[in-house]
């Protein structure tokens, strides 16, 4: 095991997979930086430092700096994937899916189905998401609820450096298109990461990060850590929480959620995306449909309100889920009679 930061787990996994497979190519805005050709002192290596050194090692054929043209980035990833390559495209901020959506939604996600299963589209689209930096409405969003609703895409939301390593390797080696969502607030977090060069985590397998048995908390990404904090706080009172890290929202590990709820009878889904037609509502519906007789309390959602993301510190704090909000929801389901 090696201790490393979340962002370094991203970079090292891409580096290792590029070394292993000559078909892996990287493209995006500022993934080289500077003059886009030198990789020298002017180069930035991605604004999240997730492509630093790739250009120097693999050269311009495989590390492609692009203009600020998100449709072209996504479309080029589509064309590369249809032409035998394994593109790893970086969309600098998840919010920018808006300018590139056709290529994701109507092209990449649908090729295999529209073409009768006669092609594969092994594209990985990485994007930084999430609030907490007062970056306001266009640089803070969580977009997984939009992308998870698109058949043909797989959607991954790692919460730890080890999961980045295992899930990103799976994503790059996967023959289907994968959206890889990296939370901005997690980039600088650290954790132990397995050294096995083939360490992979299969999609659709959630992780039980805390086992309690009284209430089920389901989350992913940054908020997973808040759920764990709530679980640790309540453990001192003798209340046991199952905390489930979804890891992937498409495919979805329904079994782990339902198995837990059948024991606890109480579920709180915590999600950073807006509430309407979202992941939290989807999971509450799943539990209501499939585990109704086990329920001891109505499923609860902890999400931001149905508003854009505000700028000012006080407003953003009020907008986001928090440890206190999650704890209050847990206490609500525990107190339900």
């Amino acid at each position: 095991m090696t201790k490393m930061m979340y962002r370094d787990a991203v970079l090292s996994t891409i580096m290792e997979e590029m070394a292993r497979d000559p078909d892996v190519v990287v493209l995006g805005e500022d993934v080289v930086g500077g003059m886009g050709t030198a990789g020298g002192p002017e180069a930035i290596g991605g604004i999240w430092s997730t492509s630093t050194g790739l250009y120097d090692r693999f050269g311009p054929g495989r590390v492609i700096d692009t203009p600020i043209s998100e449709s072209a980035i996504m479309g080029a990833a589509a064309g590369l994937a249809l032409s035998g390559k394994r593109p790893v495209a970086e969309l600098m901020f998840a919010d920018f899916i808006g300018v590139s959506l056709d290529q994701l939604w109507n092209q990449i996600a649908k090729f295999r189905y529209m073409f009768g299963g006669k092609t594969r589209c092994p594209a990985v689209i990485r994007m930084a998401y999430g609030a907490g930096f007062n970056a306001a409405a266009q640089h803070s969003q969580s977009v997984h609820q939009i992308l998870t609703g698109m058949p043909g895409l797989k959607v991954v939301m790692p919460s730890t450096p080890a999961d980045v390593k295992g899930l990103l390797r799976t994503a790059i080696r996967d023959d289907d298109p994968v959206i890889f969502l990296e939370h901005k607030a997690l980039y600088a977090t650290s954790g132990e990461v397995p050294d096995d060069p083939d360490f992979m985590i299969p999609f659709g397998h959630a992780r039980l990060s805390r086992a309690g048995g009284d209430v089920t908390l389901v989350s992913s990404g940054l908020l997973l850590g808040m759920c764990e904090a709530v679980a640790d706080r309540l453990a001192a009172e003798g209340i046991g929480c199952d905390v489930i890290d979804l890891r992937t929202t498409s495919p979805l590990d329904e079994e782990t959620i339902l198995d837990s709820v059948e024991v606890t009878g109480r579920v709180v889904v915590v999600d950073e995306a807006p509430p309407r037609c979202g992941l939290a509502a989807d999971l509450c519906a799943l539990v209501a449909e499939m585990a109704f007789s086990s329920l001891k309390a109505p499923p609860q959602q902890v999400t931001p309100p149905h508003t854009p993301i505000p700028f000012a510190r006080e407003l953003e704090s009020a907008y986001l889920p928090s440890v206190d909000k999650i704890e209050a929801a847990v206490r609500r389901v525990l107190a339900w009679r």
Binding site: V25, L27, G36, G61, R62, I64, T66, P67, S69, S71, A72, M74, G75, A76, A77, A78, G79, L80, A81, L82, S83, G84, K85, P87, D102, Q103, N106, Q107, F111, R112, Y113, M114, F115, G116, G117, K118, T119, R120, P151, G152, K154, D174, D175, D176, G204, P251
Partner: protein
């Protein structure tokens, strides 16, 4: 450069196959047997064939909603396409794609596309794959983005042209200006009217212009374009001035056409007639050669329609197949 007799016969057969494929669909669609939206390529055959006759399987193309001609010219199977348009599970895309989504990756045909302007960025990606692989014995593999005058107004097309220039990707943007973006004339919808090529030049690439109803002009122009791109000269663009004989979609009442316009373009700007006149006048082929091909092609289309009608239908279970490779 003079084409061989065999090359001339192949080119005519390819153009005639597209023509009869589309003319037959025009008739069949009116019976209600074919579902969905269909956009016919009649009138533009010289472009698809004049471009694709230069290409090998390793070269890739990305097509449009009006894609049957590009598919056939790039080597897609006539029966497989007809079955796809009929919605059979034996269709080229198992009945999942239909007219607007025919693809055959193994043939280098990366898909017709229902979204106007979506193809150009995908073609740049295919060209970047070629660039990563480097030149082969015949120079760089190229990628062709077929676009209409409608797509030339999409931002995706601009983004793609700029990306191709900055990466020097071996991509060729083929603009087929048929004078109508759906139902709106280019004189209104395209700020540069009949000069789409100048837009490509403004992005920093070399561009050509030619009469898209003259097979020989298309073919000769593409020879120059391909020499430039395969030789490492970077991306290029060509604007072909062409004609669309039918409406935007089948069922389009075409009230926007001028009086006698369709009759005039069919009489004066039919690429097949022009081809026949040119080769017979030059003594390269005689009318008998061409008449024989006409009969042969009609037989091919008749057989394809019969096969499509008889082909097995998909079942409800097929809905779930092929969303993912593994899930």
């Amino acid at each position: 450069m003079q084409l061989s007799r065999e090359a001339l016969l192949n080119a005519y057969r390819a153009m005639k196959t597209i023509r009869e494929f589309e003319e037959r669909l025009h008739v069949e669609i009116q019976t209600g047997e074919i579902a969905g939206f269909t956009h016919l390529y009649c009138g533009q055959e010289a472009v698809a064939v004049g471009v694709c006759e230069h290409l090998g399987t390793q070269d890739r193309i990305v097509s449009t909603h009006r894609g049957h001609g590009h598919c056939l010219a790039k080597g897609c199977d006539v029966d497989g396409m007809m079955k796809e348009i009929w919605g059979s599970r034996e269709g080229l895309c198992k009945g999942k794609g239909g007219s607007m989504h025919i693809a055959d990756i193994d043939k280098g045909m990366l898909g017709a596309n229902g979204i106007v302007g979506a193809g150009a960025p995908i073609a740049v990606g295919a060209a970047l794959a070629s660039r990563a692989d480097g030149p082969g014995p015949d120079g760089m593999k190229v990628a062709i983005a077929f676009s209409g005058d409608g797509a030339c107004n999409q931002g995706t097309t601009f983004e793609a042209m700029n990306l191709a220039v900055v990466t020097q990707a071996p991509c060729i943007f083929v603009f087929e200006n048929n004078h109508y973006s759906e139902h709106t004339g280019v004189s209104y919808a395209v700020g540069t009217n009949r000069d789409i090529a100048s837009r490509a030049e403004a992005f920093g690439m070399k561009a050509w212009r030619a009469d898209g109803t003259d097979f020989f002009a298309v073919h000769e122009t593409m020879r120059e374009v391909l020499d430039h791109v395969r030789g490492g000269g970077g991306p290029a663009a060509v604007e072909f001035d062409t004609e669309r004989f039918f409406g935007h979609f089948e069922g389009d009442p075409q009230r926007y056409r001028g009086p006698g316009e369709i009759e005039r373009i069919r009489a004066e700007r039919d690429c097949l007639t022009r081809f026949r006149n040119a080769v017979t006048a030059a003594g390269l082929l005689d009318h008998g050669d061409i008449d024989a091909l006409d009969a042969q092609v009609l037989g091919t289309i008749e057989a394809a329609v019969a096969a499509a009608r008889a082909a097995p239908r998909p079942t409800a279970d097929d809905v779930l197949a092929d969303v993912y490779i593994s899930y």
